[in-house]
Assembly symmetry: C2
Homo-oligomer: 153 residues x 2
Amino acid sequence: MSDVTESPKIPDFLCCVDCVGFNLRKATRAVTQLYDEMLRPAGIRVTQYSLLVVLKIVGPVLVTDLAEKIVMDRTTLSRNLELMEKQGLVNVVPGEDRRTRCVTITESGSAVLLEAYPLWQHAQDKIRESMGEERLQALMADLSALIDVSQAR
Amino acid sequence: MSDVTESPKIPDFLCCVDCVGFNLRKATRAVTQLYDEMLRPAGIRVTQYSLLVVLKIVGPVLVTDLAEKIVMDRTTLSRNLELMEKQGLVNVVPGEDRRTRCVTITESGSAVLLEAYPLWQHAQDKIRESMGEERLQALMADLSALIDVSQAR
DNA sequence: TTTATAAAGGAGTATATACACATAATTATG
DNA sequence: CATAATTATGTGTATATACTCCTTTATAAA
């Protein structure tokens, strides 16, 4: 009778404030801006920084292999690499298999990486100090689990 | 003497496999693709789905207020809304303050939302069933904490 | 060995994202 | 009230993302 005792007029399907996709994207926007702002003096963003690090570890590597490793669409990676090649951060050369293209970090890319590292660390430390090492590791594990379930077909 | 006992030759600054930004973006790519694939029959992606839900709950709302609420750059939101307006999903009209623009979900947008809801639910359930409700809630809390620390200036 | 299939990649298109700068309208200040 | 500061938004530019379709090359099948 009185609407005081009634629950809010929000239908069931509006409970998507719990949508994992939405909340993940929302957090990613905020966190990306933090890293990008910290990395700005180095002239790269967290996307390129991450690519440089991965290339330093696993490169030289084929485009498709790299794309799979970092869970990125092949065409997205290609276009990101194209920009980095223009900026002199990476080299992309034909592989032995003439279909493939092989990616390597350049000396210039390594130099930028070294310059960016302490900047990246500031961002990372800010988050680590706020959340604590344990919670951060749990979060990493959860993100990994999210990838697994999302890719299970 | 022997390199068997040595740790791998990866310098300290390459430990960024722990980079929160990188891992968050990586997981977001995977999860977004899951939701987008599930939502495809409804003709919208998880970005638009989320916007429709939020508009259904909090609309009508001013662009800047909405942007702040969903932690999205104002100009990004404007351009997303522009597409949705063309598709007839939302209305954007001038507010009383003649500087402002007020956003509302349309009837057509509500219809698409209803059609998309069960599709969204399939994606959400897949993740929920895989991770478990508890872990999922912990993850949501962590994402919220990430936003807080990223925006603390 | 010819042909069919698969794999790697590029190009076209479209959405998502945000920074820097400019404009219009409102509010605060003198 | 006139001017200065603030606020809300739009535009230009650039990166990030991925789907679809197409070409080239390699491998498997006949």
